[in-house]
């Protein structure tokens, strides 16, 4: 067994075990922390497949952003005690069956050796390409302009960045627009409308001190 395979087996086992615990844990904080562990394992798996940049982004966004957000919300809600509740829904047996079926489906589809792994060369994952027109003299004397592609081996992050800003520029811009929409949506949904009673209870000095009523509302909901 090669070292890489050992690493894969260990990390994969941890990932699967912790993801089972994400689903099985009663307390959402424990679930969130096990999900964090899963994400970190997945990041290591990414790096093993020549995707350093994606691995770093995975840790940065998932572990550093999304999971903190989850923990934040869990703790915000946990401050006021939740009533004891049943963890499983009524059709949990059916759910387990569906999961098992999907797992078996994947298992039968992916037999070892289907993809005939070549001797891996991840050079293409760290190469940027430049295109240039060049005049090529044909045997019959005519001159044809041809598009020449030239690759240059750089780092993985540079290659991904280059691809994002050239071939995938439009999807990239759409993604940024999507993020803007999601941000506005989250703010609009999450903002608390003050009830009439609460609005009356705003102390007078707060109304005097700030310039607009809107600002007071913001301060109260924060």
């Amino acid at each position: 067994m090669s070292p890489a395979l050992v690493v894969f087996l260990v990390i994969g086992t941890i990932a699967v075990a912790s993801s089972i615990l994400v689903v099985a844990m009663r307390n959402p904080v424990h679930s969130a922390l096990f999900l964090l562990l899963t994400f970190l394992c997945v990041a290591i798996l990414f790096v093993m497949k020549g995707a350093e940049f994606v691995g770093a982004v995975q840790v940065l966004v998932y572990a550093g952003g999304i999971m903190v957000l989850f923990l934040f919300v869990v703790m915000l809600i946990n401050v006021r005690h939740l009533p004891d509740e049943r963890v499983l829904s009524n059709f949990w047996k059916g759910g387990l069956l569906v999961g098992l079926a999907v797992f078996l489906l994947f298992f039968t589809m992916v037999r070892p050796g289907v993809f005939h792994d070549p001797v891996a060369s991840d050079q293409a994952l760290r190469t940027t390409y430049t295109y240039r027109h060049r005049k090529v003299h044909q045997p019959d004397g005519t001159v044809v302009r041809k598009l020449i592609r030239r690759g240059k081996v750089v780092g993985n992050s540079e290659a991904v960045g280059m691809a994002l800003y050239t071939d995938y520029l439009v999807p990239f811009e759409v993604a940024s627009l999507f993020l803007l929409v999601a941000m506005i949506g989250a703010i609009v949904i999450g903002k608390r409308e003050l009830s009439a009673i609460e609005e009356e209870n705003i102390p007078a000095y707060m109304l005097e001190r700030s310039e607009t009523e809107h600002e007071v509302k913001e301060a109260m909901s924060a």
């Binding site: 090669s2 959402p28 679930s31 989850f70 939740l82 992916v110 949506g185």
Partner: protein
């Protein structure tokens, strides 16, 4: 550098397992936050697939798609958690089964 001995199939198996676990979580759990976490888990399983294929076919496309999926996951988490907070304010519960008023 590490050799690429863990094959593409091994990655696909792992990703399938994680996806199935996430699916089970979405179906059987009642706590909304856990359901959202299970969805994130499924997205990550898909990411593993894409990265494995990106390596197998020596093409950056898989990694690019992974980045877009991470973007979508971030937006989804933000909006989903905002909805959960609002639901909690409205009904003092984050149980999925309690939020079925439109179920006529």
């Amino acid at each position: 550098m590490l050799e690429a001995v863990p094959t593409t199939e091994a990655y696909l198996m792992l990703s399938g397992t994680l996806f199935a676990i996430g699916l089970v979580g979405v179906i059987i759990r009642r706590n909304m936050i856990t359901v959202l976490m299970a969805i994130e888990l499924m997205m990550n399983a898909v990411n593993i697939n894409l990265v494995a294929f990106s390596h197998r076919f020596a093409s950056l496309e898989g990694q690019i798609f992974t980045i877009f999926i991470i973007t979508v996951a971030a937006g989804e988490a933000a909006v989903g958690l905002a909805i959960i907070i609002q639901l909690y304010r409205l009904k003092s519960t984050i149980n999925v089964d309690e939020a079925r008023e439109l179920n006529g």
